[in-house]
Symmetry: C2
Subunit: 372 residues, 2 copies
C-alpha cells in the first residue's frame, strides 16, 4: 500500500552522483537544527576550513553554494563578469558550452577557444585569443571535463590569465578530491565544484572559492549582480568573517551535515593518499577493460582517473548494455553526452566509489553483458 | 577526537526550518541512485503529482527547484519578467523587498505598494497602482509574510491581476500545507514555496508551479532568461512531460526522497485535516501565550496559524530570552526580522512541529524564562 520510496542499492559508476559513503548518509539524517543556531554557525566555520584544505587555498571566501554545481558555475560568472565584458571561454566538451551560455546571458561577449572533444584545452590557442582580445577580463575553462574524461593543464592556463591581467574561472566539479587542485599555487580566481563526484557526498551543493583579486572585482562592480540568490556580496554577509551573520537564505542544514562529514573523511585520508588511490584503481580498471577487449577514448597523459571514457565497440547497442548492467547487476555506468552520445561510455571511479570492489564488479559485469 | 557533528535535538519553533518528521529524515538517508535512473524518473513523476495536490493545481509545470525558496522566488521573476517590464510589487514585510530586488536586477521597473509591516496587503491600493500603471504585466505579493506572521487575501489579489491582464506571482513559502492555497481556483500564475516550513521537510528545495498562461509568457519571451540554472525552458526538458528527459543539472536525489515522503504524509493526512490541525494548535498557543501575559502582534483575522508574531514586553531582553530557551530548553523561537527586530518574536507551529507537545513546551518554557 505504501508509496514510500525504497531505492535499490546501486553501484554508481557513472559521471555522478557517485556512491555516497555510509558515514555521509548517516550524517545527512541527523536532527535538523536552525540555520542561525550557534552550533550550526560553528559547523559552518568548520566546513569552510575543511573546504580550504580540499581546495588548497587560504581564500577567506570559500563556501558551499546552496545549490548544484551548475549554480556554482553561474555564481562564478554572474559575480565576476559584467555586461559588456569580454570573456575567453575554452570549450572541449559540454561544460565549456554551458559557460558560453552563462557569459552571454550576462550581456557579455564570449570568445570561444575550441578543442576537439577528447583533447585537453590547448594553451597556445588561449595565448592567441588573448593576443586578439587584449580587453578580455576573464579566462574560463573546465579542469576536468566530465563529458569527455579529459584533464586540462590548469596551472598553465591560470598563468596565462594572470599574464594578461585576467581572472581565471576554473570548473573543478569532477576534480575536487580526485586529482590535484592547487587553487592558491596555480593562482585560480574562482573555482567551483560539486558534492556528488569525488567528495562521496549527496548531490545538491556546490563548494566554491574566490581569490582576493576576485573579491576586489566583485566589490568594484558598477552594476549589481544579476542574481539575488547568487550575489556574493549578500552571501558573504551570511558566511563571511566573524561578524554577526546576516540572514540571506535558509541554508540546507542537513546537506551541510553531509558535506561536513565527507570533507572530514577527505581530510582524514589526506589529499595525497586520495589522489594515489584514485590513480591506482583507475590503472586496475583500465587493465580490466582492456582485458575484455575495450579501448580507452582519451590519451593516457590527459585521462581523468576518476572518469574513464571508453569507446563503445562497433555494433554494440549502447542503451541495451547500460540497461542490462542496471537491471541485472544494479550497476550504473554513464552514457556519452552531447556529440559523444552512443560513441562512448563514461565509467566513474569517484571518491568512496573508487575502490577495488567497484573495479572488479564493473569489469566482470560489463564483460559478461558484452558476451551475451 | 572525532570532529563529526552530532547536533542536539532541538524543538524548532522559529520561522523555519521547522521540526522535520522522522519519516522524512529516514527517507533522506536511503541509498543514492542516479538522477537519470528509471526508478528516479518514476519518483519525479510521483513528486510532481503530489505537488499538484499540495498546490491544488493541474498545472503541468509543477516541480521542485533544486535550491532554497529564495531561488524559487528568483525562478518566478526571471522567467516571467523581461527587461523593461513593469511589475507591481506589494510590500508589507521583508520578502516584498526581496521581490523588488529581483525585479530591478532584471532591468524591469518595480512599482511598490506599501502596507504597514503587520498588516495584510490592501487590495484597494493595488487597484490604484494598476490604474496608474496599466502597462504592468505582473503583480507580485507574499501570501504568508514570514517576517510578520500576516496572511494577505491572495484570491482577491489574483483576481485583480487577471482583471488587468497581468500575471500573478505568489510567494507561498510559509503557506504550503499550513493554510488554504488554491492555485487554480484563485488563478495564480507562478507560486513558489519551500520545504522547510509546513512540509516538515529539510531545507533546500523550492516547490514551484506555473500556469499555462505563465508558460505561454515564457515561450514568447524576446530575450533568454538571464539565469541558465533557473531557465524553465531548460528545466522543463528534464522535468517535463513523458518525452525523453534531457540532462540539465544533477538533481539533489536524496533531498527528493525527503520531499516525496513529506508530500506523501501531507496527502495521507489530507489538506483539510492539516489546515484544521494548524488552526487548532494555533488557538491553543495563543491562549497559552496570553495566559502568561503576552500579546499577539497581528489582528486575529490575518494571523497565520503557522507563524505567530508576539510582542516582546517592555524591558525584556530579546536575545537573552531566546538564548535561554535554546540553552535550557533546546527550544528555538524566531527573532524579529528587519524593522521588527527586537520588537517581536516569531513562534512557528509548522507541519510536523504543529502539535500539542510543542505548544505546551513553548508556553511553559517561555513562561519560566520570563519569570526569571
Amino acid at each position: 500500500m505504501s508509496r514510500s520510496f525504497y531505492p535499490p542499492v546501486r553501484t554508481l559508476m557513472g559521471p555522478g552522483p557517485s556512491d555516497v559513503s555510509p558515514r555521509v548518509l548517516s550524517a545527512l539524517s541527523r536532527p535538523t537544527i536552525g540555520h542561525l543556531d550557534p552550533l550550526f554557525v560553528d559547523l559552518m566555520d568548520d566546513v569552510k576550513q575543511l573546504l580550504q584544505y580540499a581546495f588548497q587555498t587560504s581564500n577567506e571566501l570559500t563556501i558551499p553554494i546552496s545549490a548544484p554545481g551548475s549554480a556554482g558555475m553561474e555564481a562564478a560568472f554572474v559575480n565576476l563578469v559584467s555586461p559588456g565584458d569580454t570573456v575567453i571561454v575554452c570549450q572541449n566538451g559540454v561544460f565549456g558550452g554551458r559557460m558560453k551560455e552563462n557569459v552571454e546571458r550576462i550581456g557579455a561577449t564570449a570568445i570561444m577557444v575550441h578543442d576537439r572533444w577528447g583533447d585537453p584545452v590547448d594553451p597556445q590557442k588561449v595565448a592567441e585569443a588573448f593576443k586578439a582580445h587584449p580587453e578580455a577580463s576573464v579566462l574560463a575553462f573546465v579542469h576536468s571535463e566530465t563529458s569527455t574524461g579529459v584533464r586540462s593543464d590548469a596551472q598553465t592556463l591560470c598563468a596565462l590569465a594572470k599574464d594578461h591581467g585576467a581572472l581565471a574561472i576554473v570548473d573543478a566539479v569532477t576534480t575536487l578530491g580526485g586529482i590535484e587542485l592547487l587553487v592558491d599555487a596555480w593562482g585560480a580566481d574562482a573555482v567551483y565544484s560539486g558534492t556528488q563526484k569525488c567528495l562521496s557526498c549527496v548531490p545538491g551543493i556546490s563548494p566554491i572559492t574566490f581569490s582576493p583579486k576576485a573579491i576586489e572585482r566583485i566589490q568594484n562592480r558598477a552594476t549589481k549582480v544579476q542574481s539575488w540568490f547568487l550575489d556574493m556580496q549578500l552571501v558573504m554577509g551570511y558566511w563571511g568573517g566573524n561578524a554577526k551573520r546576516a540572514y540571506h537564505h535558509t541554508a540546507p542544514v542537513n546537506a551541510m551535515y553531509a558535506l561536513h562529514e565527507s570533507l572530514l573523511m577527505l581530510e582524514e585520508e589526506g589529499l595525497a593518499a586520495s589522489f594515489a588511490r584514485h590513480r591506482k584503481n583507475h590503472e586496475q580498471l583500465v587493465a580490466g577493460l582492456e582485458s575484455i577487449g575495450l579501448s580507452m577514448a582519451v590519451d593516457a597523459e590527459w585521462r581523468l582517473p576518476q572518469l574513464n571514457s571508453v569507446l563503445i565497440p562497433e555494433g554494440v547497442d549502447d542503451a541495451a548494455v547500460r540497461g542490462q548492467l542496471l537491471q541485472d547487476f544494479n550497476l550504473e555506468i554513464g552514457a556519452g553526452l552531447g556529440e559523444l552520445a552512443g560513441k562512448q561510455w563514461r565509467i566513474g571511479l569517484m571518491g568512496y566509489g573508487n575502490n577495488p570492489v567497484n573495479v572488479n564488479h564493473c569489469v566482470t559485469a560489463l564483460g559478461s553483458v558484452l558476451k551475451r
